[in-house]
């Protein structure tokens, strides 16, 4: 694997002399602003030494007693041992889910299901600090984001779908919505608790029971959520959580007694799952990768756009499937915008995820850091121009500097492949047609961004983007009422909103 080029080897790294101050004015005079550490206390989280699988309402060890360790990617220190599920454990979890679907959860009226989901939402709100800290410890994301985005959105998601549970007749006029049965749900490591909420809330609202497999690097918030289910007195077996590697997920997805498979993750694995369930009559929804274009026209409010671009690609270390990883700038403003962007980059604080001032935390795993490093090296090798602000990185842990590439060609790997890291590729265009052509020139179609002050141009671009979510003069906004999902190889089916219910129901004639 080619290693990350040393910063000193690149001609584009700003020297301290030219370094803008942290206000972003770029006057090159002031001493960079120093921030005192502002760490969030970890003691609100009580980690167990060992976590079991959550099957039929109880924590049980894996058959055979296997475990693996979940680590804190910002320190590389172990956090806890987690049960390594065997195939038979998956079978047990599916059986428990089937039983609950037949006998308890599936027998409840929508009105009663709703009350359980409201309870879950409330408990998540009540324990929000605990969840936020744990999420940042296990995933490496900044506490600012887990506290203000992941956890509140997760609670809101349960809240929103709770209200649907007894109103399904109004979501599907003329039809009767029946649950599909047992749902197998496989989620990624970038938003562990939020993805859990996106999966579990609509499934339960519609009367399904679930077996959920969190990512192997971020199992802890899901296992803490098991505790929420217990606190909420959720009927045992309604939610089951199994932990382990991808093969366990595949075993779950292809299990003969599973009616529905919902997967969020890479397009590559999504295709494998699609092949695995081929011909089986299982309902399937896939939320896969992306390579979003963020398009800035010459009449855009530039300072607002810079904030949107930064939020678009450096939010959650860029480990976001809908990240605005390709910046398309109208040629006439490219130099100005890139200067502003570089200024802004120099104020980004990379470091301890638990520090309340941190903007960019740790990369989720060593493997992901290596992948990012390799792709960035390919960008340099293929001739793109690298820029990274001169910020200090912690000595331990998986960190990567916010990175910006200019002179990027559409054929470069960094313009085609999903990096899933804090790496922005800048391309330029002259006409709206060229912007559309370049934006859509990808196998993905998850999201897009448009920056312009002209309303009619926004609407034209919106209609020409092959993307499931289009942010106009904003980026990376999420809400439980707002459907999310992809065009093309970014997947199919929607999560969120009324549309998110559709993925979990079978419609029968009235």
């Amino acid at each position: 694997m080619p290693s990350m080029p040393e910063r000193t080897e690149t001609s584009v790294v700003v020297s301290l002399d030219h370094r803008p101050n942290s206000w972003g004015f770029g006057d090159g005079q002031a001493i960079p602003w120093e921030y005192a550490p502002a760490p969030e206390a970890r003691d609100i989280v009580t980690l167990k030494e060992r976590y079991g699988l959550f099957i039929a309402g109880r924590s049980v060890p894996a058959t055979g007693g296997g475990t693996f360790t979940s680590i804190d990617p910002s320190t590389e220190q172990p956090l806890a041992d987690v049960a390594l599920a065997a195939d038979v454990d998956v079978d047990k979890a599916v059986r428990a889910a089937r039983r609950a679907q037949r006998r308890s959860w599936g027998q409840l009226s929508g009105r009663e299901r709703a009350k359980y989901l409201f309870r879950i939402s409330r408990i998540l709100q009540e324990r929000s600090r605990e969840f936020a800290v744990l999420e940042s410890m296990d995933s490496g994301k900044p506490i600012k984001e887990s506290r203000d985005v992941d956890v509140p959105l997760a609670a809101n998601h349960f809240w929103y779908y709770a209200g649907w549970a007894d109103k399904l007749d109004y979501a599907f006029p003329g039809r009767v919505a029946k649950p599909l049965g047992v749902a197998a749900q496989i989620i990624p490591w970038n938003f562990p608790l939020l993805m859990l909420a996106w999966k579990i809330a609509p499934a339960l609202a519609a009367g399904n029971t679930v077996v959920l497999k969190p990512a192997s690097t971020t199992p802890l918030s899901a296992l803490l959520f098991a505790d929420v289910c217990v606190q909420a007195d959720l009927p045992p077996g309604t939610v089951n959580i199994i932990t382990g590697p991808g093969e366990i997920g595949m075993h779950l997805a292809t299990h003969p007694d599973v009616d529905k498979v919902a997967f969020t993750g890479s397009t590559e694995i999504g295709k494998k799952i699609g092949r695995g369930v081929a011909g089986s009559d299982k309902a399937l929804t896939l939320e896969l990768g992306g390579k979003a274009a963020n398009i800035v026209f010459d009449d855009a409010p530039l300072d607002q756009a810079v904030e949107g671009i930064v939020n678009g690609i450096y939010f959650n270390q860029g480990e976001v499937c809908c990240a605005g990883s390709r910046l398309l700038v109208q040629e006439s403003i490219a130099d100005t915008l890139i200067d502003k962007l570089k200024d802004r980059l120099s104020t980004i604080r990379v470091g301890d995820p638990l520090d309340k001032n941190t903007d960019v935390g740790a990369i989720n795993s060593k493997a992901q850091l290596e992948k990012i490093t390799e792709l960035v090296a390919s960008g340099v090798a293929e001739g793109a121009e690298l820029y990274q602000p001169a910020c200090d990185l912690p000595e331990r842990g998986y960190f990567f500097r916010p990175t910006l590439f200019t002179n990027v060609a559409q054929s470069h790997r960094i313009a085609r492949e999903e990096v899933f890291g804090p790496v922005l590729s800048v391309l330029t265009f002259r006409t709206p047609d060229e912007a559309v052509e370049k934006a859509n020139n990808t196998r993905y179609g998850l999201s897009a961004g448009i920056w312009t002050d002209k309303g009619s141009r926004i609407l034209e671009m919106v209609s020409r983007m092959q993307a499931g979510v289009v942010w106009a003069n904003t980026f990376n906004k999420f809400d439980p009422t707002s459907p999310f999902g992809g065009y093309k190889e970014s997947g199919f089916g929607r999560e969120g909103g009324m549309h998110g219910l559709h993925a979990y129901v079978r419609l029968e004639d009235r």
Binding site: A472, T474, D479, S482
Partner: protein, 307 residues
């Protein structure tokens, strides 16, 4: 071949010799034969040979996909009301050929005339039902979303793109119409493989398309061997969605695996439902907005309020 005579010859010396129809393919608004020069014999339900149908090749299929690709921007870009009117006109022309369809469906499916008439009438009515959705489905499936922040947020459906349809094997016209109209009304363009054993009513339907206002390339129709063509359709990377209703059971796993390779959207028969058992005359079962939604993509748009 089918009774080769009708009426009496003009000179009175025996019966009039019928002018038979050559059943061809329908690709890009034209009626080519297969580039492969192959055909197969199609028989009536009672075993009487009816015609030589074209046995399409993989090349024909690729040509059809190319035609559908070319027609997509124009068709999806029409106003919804215009698309509805164009599709409604198909029903008008079907009505004009009602007797012909009745005769063909009766022969293909072995139905008595009264039953075949009921099937054809229902096919025409169903076309009208689906055509009417063109300018309404957005209002049923779209939404304005009350997000918890100052943003205007709405969701609109858009057509998926090019949809491959493996038409029902038993219901040669009504089943086909019920599966073809939904993706079309959504704004998709289509490559359709007809029933293998009962392809002739579908080809007559293409003559309706050719004389209607449906632009060439919007619907492309191929006849031939499913075993040969369906995997190619399923694996074609320019096909965005696949209706697997008429896929034979022994091909299903392979076909859905191919479809997974480029994340095609699938529309399947109801679970456990055999093709031959589906009651196409049942309006509740076969008139479904969900079948339109199967090949629509939901696009959600955000814009800040006040900044």
């Amino acid at each position: 071949m089918a009774a080769g005579t009708n009426g009496t010859s003009r000179n009175g010396a025996g019966p009039r010799i019928e002018v038979r129809k050559t059943y061809k393919l329908y690709i890009g608004g034209a009626f080519p034969r297969s580039e492969s020069g192959r055909s197969y014999v199609v028989s009536a339900a009672d075993g009487t040979p009816l015609a030589n149908a074209v046995r399409s090749s993989r090349k024909d299929l690729r040509d059809a996909v190319r035609a559908a690709h070319g027609a997509f921007p124009g068709w999806s870009g029409k106003t919804a009301m215009n698309r509805g009117q164009v599709l409604y006109r198909v029903a008008e022309l079907m009505e004009g050929r009602r007797d012909q369809f009745v005769a063909e469906v009766a022969a293909a499916e072995g139905l008595r005339e009264a039953r075949a008439t009921e099937v054809v009438d229902r096919a025409i009515d169903r076309w009208v039902w689906y055509a009417g959705w063109a300018d309404k489905i957005t209002q049923i499936l779209g939404s304005a979303n009350p997000v918890a922040a100052p943003y205007f947020n709405f969701t609109i459906p858009e057509p998926t793109g090019i949809v491959g349809i493996v038409a029902p094997e038993t219901s040669s016209l009504l089943g086909l119409v019920s599966r073809l109209a939904p993706p079309l009304v959504a704004g998709n363009t289509v490559v359709l493989l007809t029933s293998e054993t009962r392809p002739l009513p579908a080809i007559t339907l293409t003559e309706v398309f050719a004389t209607s206002d449906v632009p060439g390339g919007v619907v492309n129709v191929l006849t031939g061997r499913k075993k040969e063509l369906v995997p190619v359709l399923a694996a074609h990377e320019d096909v965005d969605g696949l209706d697997v209703w008429g896929v034979p059971d022994d091909l299903r796993v392979e076909v859905e695996q191919f479809a997974a390779d480029d994340i095609k959207r699938l529309s399947r028969r109801p679970r456990g439902m055999a093709d031959a058992r589906f009651d196409w005359l049942d309006d509740r079962a076969a008139e479904r907005p969900e079948w339109i939604a199967a090949f629509l993509e939901m696009k959600t748009v955000w814009h800040p309020i006040g900044v």
